[in-house]
Each structure stands twice: as structure tokens, then as C-alpha cells.
């Protein structure tokens, strides 16, 4: 692959690779517990050390593994507003997306806007046949984003993750190549 960490564009957003300079802003967003309680992998409370390790791994990820992390930057002023990733399970020709948006930027449609572009990237550039997204069942706003992206509700995995002393239900949404409309 000649462009290992791609940059994509939407109307309002630049989906670019992370740099270590993003760490303070990412830490600021992830310090609001409303993000980590919705994200399985992000510790609650979050730490700067965790953020730096997370960004370091994202920046140095071998693209051959098929995991791509995008910083969502607002084009008008360069402000980092969130993060979206896509990871490929090549043996099953599918990918999974995940994301968070910093709380001050909720309600602006950034996740839907970036998600459309990432789905297109997944189907057209990565060549997968199916893309899924998983949300905790209590995260209705995120479930709505996935539906707005054209993803269909498929399953509720009951109590399938254990986080901060609670078993959480997860919903999986999926879209097939033939269902995706640019």
C-alpha cells in the first residue's frame, strides 16, 4: 500500500492520521466520563499515559494489519472533534468501525458525516463485503448514528462485556456491500 495512513475528506471534516501533538486534546475529551462509559476499551477514569500509549500504537500501526485510526479535524479551524477507526477482518472480508466524538462537539452530525466516508473507504478501498458497528445498548445516540449510516440492527449480545463492575448489553449493526449508497 503506497499510502499507509490515508487522509480522507468530507464537507466539514478532514479525517487524518493522529500525531502525538493530539494527545492533550484527546486526553481532555476522554477525561469526560461520558466517553469512557460508552467505550469498552477506554479506561474510566482515563489517564494521559493511556492516551499517549494509545496514540503511539495508532501512529505506528502496520497498515498491513488493516487497522486505521482517523483523527476527525474540523476543516474550518483545524479543531480535533473526535476519532473514528476501521479494522479489517480479512479472512471474513468484513470490517468494524468505532468512534467517539468529544462531548463539546456532540449533536453536530460529525459522526454520521465521517462514518459515511469511512464506509465508502471500507467498501471501495479496503474491498470488504460487510461492515459492522457495536454499541452498548444504553448508548442510543450512537445506535442512531449507525442507523443513519444505513446499518441494520442485527443482534443484542446480552451482558457480553464487563466494565467497571457492570455487565453491559451490546448491539451490533451491520451493512452489506450491496446496501451501501454513497
Amino acid at each position: 500500500m503506497d499510502n499507509p495512513h490515508p487522509t480522507l475528506e468530507t464537507q466539514r471534516l478532514l479525517l487524518r492520521p493522529f500525531t502525538m501533538q493530539d494527545a492533550p486534546k484527546v486526553y481532555e475529551y476522554l477525561s469526560d466520563s461520558r466517553i469512557p462509559v460508552r467505550m469498552h476499551r477506554i479506561p474510566n477514569p482515563c489517564t494521559m499515559e493511556w492516551v499517549e500509549h494509545y496514540l503511539y500504537k495508532a501512529i505506528h500501526e502496520d497498515p498491513e494489519i488493516g487497522r486505521f485510526q482517523f483523527a476527525l479535524a474540523r476543516k474550518s479551524d483545524g479543531e480535533l472533534v473526535g476519532r473514528m477507526n476501521i479494522r479489517v477482518a480479512a479472512e471474513h472480508q468484513r470490517a468494524e468501525i468505532g468512534y467517539w466524538i468529544g462531548v463539546p462537539h456532540w449533536g453536530n452530525g460529525y459522526a454520521t458525516e465521517a462514518g459515511k466516508r469511512i464506509l465508502q473507504y471500507g467498501f471501495e478501498s479496503l474491498g470488504v463485503q460487510r461492515i459492522i458497528g457495536t454499541v452498548y445498548s444504553h448508548n442510543r445516540a450512537s445506535a442512531q448514528v449507525l442507523q443513519k449510516l444505513g446499518m441494520r440492527y442485527e443482534i443484542t449480545r446480552r451482558q457480553d462485556t464487563y466494565k467497571n463492575g457492570v455487565f453491559e448489553d451490546s448491539e451490533i449493526y451491520g451493512i452489506l456491500r450491496g446496501e451501501f449508497i454513497v
Binding site: H92, R94, Q129, I132, E154, I155, R157, D160, F167, L176
Partner: protein, 179 residues
């Protein structure tokens, strides 16, 4: 891990693998239907495959594999395994029963016994299993063992050049204790 205990059911036992089982298990899994309905068994089956296949999880502390044998003669009629996700206190079951032993309720009996193992011996909170939707008989076995269908993941598994739908079943600790 390498299992050491024996778990008794009504007509069956779940017991550790022994070297003398290899040839017989090779015969059970050298079968188009068995291979078509499981994730990890190739067809045609290479000679001696069972010997390595049966021990693929020996070094993994979260892998538990048992021979399903008839109490009457202790010979393998199938295998059943549980893979633990220790972080989330959950487990995933996979099993197969040889062609000559189908439709006798052995799969249901073995599944019930390993569910008990998962909750009572390992202390899990959730146990799941899945099947290709083109093989609904497997879903009936899961239902009979007390599991509930959670939904269908569309075109989720690429096997033998086909994108297959899978149905996911689960049972929770709170449901198990009421059975």
C-alpha cells in the same frame, strides 16, 4: 489447558483427550457434514489431522476441550470445547457429534453438561454458541439446552467461498440458576 477432570452426564461423559482417541476422532471429523458445520475443520481432512487438532488449545489457559464419550464404552462420539473470555466472564462453546450418533439427544446432553461446567466450575456469567443458519438443527439443540437466540449476523463468516449468516445463542447465569 489440558483437561484432567471427568464430568458426568446421564448417558455421556466429558473427559480429557487421550492419545488412543486420535484415530477415532480422525474418523469422526473426516466427514463432509461435520466439516461444513464447524469453523475449523478442513475437508478433505489431512491424514493425522485429529492428533494436532485435538491439542491446539493445550497451551491456552482459556481453552477447555473434552472428548464426548458414551459411558457404556468410554469411546469418543464427538468433542465439545469452551473458550473463556476471562475479562468479560464469558465463554463460547463449540461442539460436534459424529454422524453415527446424531438424533439421539447426545449433543443436547453434552451441551447442557458443558454449560454447567462453565457456570459452576469456571464461574462464568454468560455462555454463547453459534451456528450457520443453513444448519437449523444446531439451533434446536441450543434452544433445548436452555439458550436463547440473540439474532443473526449477516454474511459474517467466509467459509469455503461463501459468506455465511450465523445465529448467536446465549444463556446467562441468572437464567441458568432458574433452569
Amino acid at each position: 489447558v489440558i483437561a484432567t477432570d471427568i464430568f458426568e452426564a446421564e448417558r455421556l461423559i466429558l473427559r480429557p483427550v487421550r492419545p488412543t482417541d486420535h484415530d477415532r476422532v480422525q474418523g469422526l471429523i473426516d466427514d463432509y457434514d461435520v466439516a461444513a458445520n464447524t469453523m475449523s475443520i478442513p475437508h478433505p481432512l489431512p491424514e493425522g489431522h485429529a492428533a494436532t487438532w485435538l491439542h491446539r488449545g493445550d497451551d491456552n489457559p482459556d481453552s477447555f476441550l473434552f472428548i464426548v464419550a458414551l459411558k457404556s464404552d468410554d469411546l469418543p462420539i464427538g468433542t465439545i470445547g469452551l473458550h473463556r473470555d476471562a475479562e468479560n466472564l464469558s465463554g463460547t462453546i463449540g461442539y460436534l457429534i459424529g454422524r453415527d450418533y446424531r438424533n439421539a439427544g447426545y449433543a443436547t446432553e453434552a451441551l447442557r453438561r458443558i454449560i454447567r461446567f462453565g457456570f459452576e466450575t469456571l464461574g462464568l456469567n454468560r455462555i454463547e454458541a453459534d451456528h450457520f443458519t443453513r444448519n437449523p438443527a444446531s439451533g434446536r439443540v441450543m434452544h433445548k439446552a436452555g439458550m436463547k437466540c440473540e439474532g443473526v449476523l449477516r454474511q459474517h463468516i467466509f467459509k469455503w467461498n461463501v459468506l455465511e449468516d450465523i445465529a448467536v445463542y446465549s444463556i446467562l447465569r441468572e437464567e441458568y440458576i432458574k433452569l
